[in-house]
């Protein structure tokens, strides 16, 4: 299979199931609130941190330029900073919010040192190089100032950014997940079986069939 993003579940929109027996009232309430999140809303991060964060999340979970309403990943991370944490932290990292502030400052400092510009102003290839170095633990000590880049990446960036992205219905459409399922649940459990309220995968040459089936998941 391809290692690029594809339109594997053409026409599938998990939100079409919103008013079906797969979604109960409390689920509608929770997802509605998520969809109503202001993509530019941030009250934890400063404007400078926000610019770096937005550029960073675009490299971790890139979204197609054609997407009219991108998943507001940065706003979801900002929201997380204002809620309960994960229930633990690795001893080498400071608490959640402080780790993020120092990590974003370190990325900005790396960009400044390497390119004389701010992280969100440099090219994506340059951004990727900085991210890759951080992930491999090769951050420059002057920039990271005692924050371990590898741990920052694996214990802060990954859980906060990746899990935010895959908490959003638009991401569920992309991977063909059935989404909320209460109270209806599922019936067809075996190999290659699909309930009519699940996403249909486009087999080569059968894209239109999948599109037709996906149009019916909300009925």
């Amino acid at each position: 299979m391809s290692n690029e993003r594809q339109d594997l579940y053409p026409g599938y929109d998990v939100l079409a199931k919103r008013d079906t027996p797969s979604w109960n009232e409390q689920t509608r309430e929770v997802i509605d609130a998520r969809l109503a999140l202001d993509p530019e809303g941030h009250s934890f991060f400063t404007d400078a941190e926000w610019a770096t964060l937005k550029a960073l999340v675009d490299r971790i979970v890139p979204q197609p330029a054609s997407r009219t309403a991108p998943i507001p990943v940065a706003a979801m991370v900002d929201e997380k900073m204002r809620g309960p944490g994960d229930g633990f932290r690795i001893a080498s990292l400071p608490p959640m919010g402080e780790a993020w502030r120092r990590g974003l400052a370190a990325l900005a400092a790396e960009a400044e040192e390497r390119h004389g510009r701010r992280f969100h102003e440099i090219g994506t290839a340059e951004q990727d190089a900085i991210v890759r170095d951080a992930k491999e633990g090769r951050g420059k000590e002057a920039a990271w100032a005692g924050l371990p880049p590898k741990e920052f990446f694996s214990h802060r960036v990954v859980p906060d950014v990746v899990k935010s992205y895959y908490a959003h219905p638009t991401a569920w459409n992309e991977i063909g997940w059935g989404g909320p399922a209460s109270p209806r649940g599922y019936v067809r459990m075996d190999f290659n079986r699909r309930d009519p309220w699940e996403a249909a995968e486009a087999k080569p040459g059968q894209e239109e069939k999948a599109r037709r089936e996906n149009r019916r998941v909300g009925r």
């Binding site: 993003r5 409390q26 309960p84 991401a171 991977i175 190999f191």
Partner: protein, 556 residues
């Protein structure tokens, strides 16, 4: 939407009816000045079960939980992100050579504890594990006899109407499971194919979610959100099984009640608990105190309750409170199938093989393990691909698109008890001003050899089932046990076989903390079986007048 996290629900002579929207059931209440027979800290698999059985035996019981009292039908969304509200999200610090991830699968902050979001896997110990030092040459012997435990396993399986196979492939004979096994999903069929290719037996996993109606519980509808809380009440958690029984028998449950200290008097006996509820600290008098907060909060509370008489914490003359923390390996092998798997449907672990729990030949390590089929939801799966496989950017989003074809096997393996793996108190404090827990974990060479063996076996199995592009998730662990171990010698254990402190005769521990070894299966069934046994032992001790006075030190 739900006020359960901010508003005390169990008060005013009533507690939530977990089976009805907005419903209530009557609840007996005790005054704080009443010296109740038992104050129980924690309402999960240990404390909830014990609260039920002690109340049914006629004791006065008040059970405390730091978490909310949910009504699953109205409070649980079908959403992975939102339902993290079931976890213990207060800060803890994790270190050691192999720091363990906390706060999600191995934690719970709810009335009902982590059984509200557990994966429902309900397996018995291999009998030899209760005497692993003597019979198998590793770990420590339990002061319990497997034949007695076999009876209590049966009691719990019946109380939870476990859905499982007619005949179980491993171990001594046991009765058939009360309810029929669940239908296997494709991920479970991959496990079966792999085992068939290797010549190992497999079976439908015995699960604590009903496969037919049971009282107010409808049969499981295969939503697949089990580890995020069951919104239909098919899951037989402590919240919907033991606790309604406890209330009916006259127990009181206090939700949003964080116990911060066990008080002791000059005679060295527990007198009750200090707890924070409704904005202030309060004190409940009790003749006996039971700690059932699981293997981090239990030692934390015992250590925080130190006095001049007990400067190292309560029940700690052995020095072992908070030591021998023992988790289980949770490594996985993942791969791709041409078939659509869609492992998100149904309970996550519908098939299991316990082959390497019961077959020791050829092992270059002590201990055993089982492996099970898996059904990660998108947030968990994204975190796994990014965190464990190291994917990010376009490679991550592309791999995530193969979600419906991804399949995996995950182990639950028996790590060795090591004194150096600990729960201690950090300098940092929480919102109550209490010191937070520091959790220190390192694998020993035996753990590493077992990890390697299990990964190799699961890799062969998945390949045998026809999966390709296999990769290993090396770092995950699950379950928490061992920080107040039971034993037959006060010098080398914290509690006796009755879960009673050697040092303080009216202090008890009843949760996974008492495990001297962990075996290669999920611990919840054993925790509940021990709670049932402890209740029977307490009733027997009370009958002969030994409850408040230890007349004979058993085993010494």
């Amino acid at each position: 939407m739900s006020d359960a996290e901010t508003t005390i629900r169990a008060t005013g002579g009533r507690a939530p009816d977990v089976f009805r929207l907005g419903g209530w059931v009557p609840m007996r209440e005790y005054r704080e000045a009443d010296e109740v027979d038992f104050a129980i800290v924690g309402t999960g698999g240990g404390g909830g079960t014990l609260a039920c059985r002690l109340a049914e035996a006629g004791f006065s019981v008040v059970a405390f939980d730091a978490g909310a009292y949910w009504r699953p039908l109205e409070d649980f969304a079908s959403d992975e992100h939102h339902q993290s509200k079931l976890y213990w999200t207060d800060e803890r610090i994790s270190d050691g050579e192999n720091p363990i991830q906390l706060g999600s699968n191995n934690s719970g902050k709810s009335v009902g504890g982590s059984t509200v979001h557990f994966a429902m896997v309900s397996l018995r110990f291999r009998p030899e594990w209760f005497k692993s030092r003597t019979l198998l040459g590793y770990g420590a012997d339990w002061p319990l006899d497997w034949r007695e435990m076999w009876g209590y396993y049966g009691e719990v399986e019946n109380a939870l109407k476990i859905a499982g196979p007619v005949s179980y492939p491993w171990g001594p004979k046991r009765p058939r499971y009360p309810y029929r096994a669940h239908e296997m999903n494709a991920a479970a069929r991959v496990l079966a194919r792999g085992c068939d290719a290797q010549g190992y037996r497999w079976t439908e996993t015995p699960l604590a979610t009903v496969s037919a109606p049971r009282g107010e519980s409808p049969p499981c509808v295969y939503r697949g959100f089990c580890t995020l809380g069951c919104s239909t009440n098919a899951k037989q958690s402590a919240l919907v099984t033991w606790l309604p029984r406890a209330l009916a028998a006259g127990a009181e449950i206090r939700d949003l009640a964080m116990v911060g200290r066990i008080e002791t008097n000059e005679a060295g006996r527990a007198t009750g608990v200090q707890y924070h509820r409704d904005g202030r600290w309060r004190f409940q008098k009790a003749r006996n105190v039971v700690v059932a907060g699981y293997a981090i909060e239990t030692p934390r509370l015992l250590l925080m309750s130190a006095t001049t008489r007990f400067p190292d914490g309560l029940g700690n003359s052995s020095g072992l409170v908070g030591k021998y923390l023992t988790v289980q390996g949770n490594q996985a092998v993942w791969g791709q199938c041409e078939d659509e798997i869609r492992s998100y449907k149904g309970p996550p672990s519908l098939a299991v093989t316990e082959h390497f729990n019961y077959h020791d030949e050829g092992k270059d390590f002590h201990g055993g393990y089982c492996w099970m089929s898996q059904g990660p939801l998108p947030m968990l799966w994204g975190g796994t691909l990014a965190g464990d496989r190291g994917l990010w950017g376009e490679a991550l989003v592309a791999e995530m698109q193969r979600y419906n074809h991804s399949v995996g096997l995950k182990v639950v393996s028996e790590y060795m008890p090591q004194e150096r793996n600990t729960v201690t108190l950090a300098d940092e404090t929480d919102r109550y001003g209490l010191p937070i827990a520091r959790v220190t974990y390192s694998w020993c060479d035996n753990d590493k050899r077992m990890n390697r063996h299990a990964l190799d076996q699961m890799r062969m199995s998945l390949a045998g089932a026809g999966a390709t592009e296999l990769w290993e998730q090396e770092n995950d662990t699950c379950h928490l046990n061992g920080t107040a171990r039971m034993g037959s010698d006060p010098a080398t254990s914290v509690v006796d076989s009755d879960c009673r402190s050697w040092d303080i005769p009216n202090l008890w521990v009843c949760d996974g903390s008492v495990f001297p070894t962990v075996g290669g299966v999920n611990p919840s069934l054993t925790i509940q079986a021990i709670a049932c046994r402890t209740a029977d032992r307490i009733a027997a001790l009370a009958k002969r007048g030994d409850l408040e006075r230890r007349s004979v030190l058993t085993g010494s």
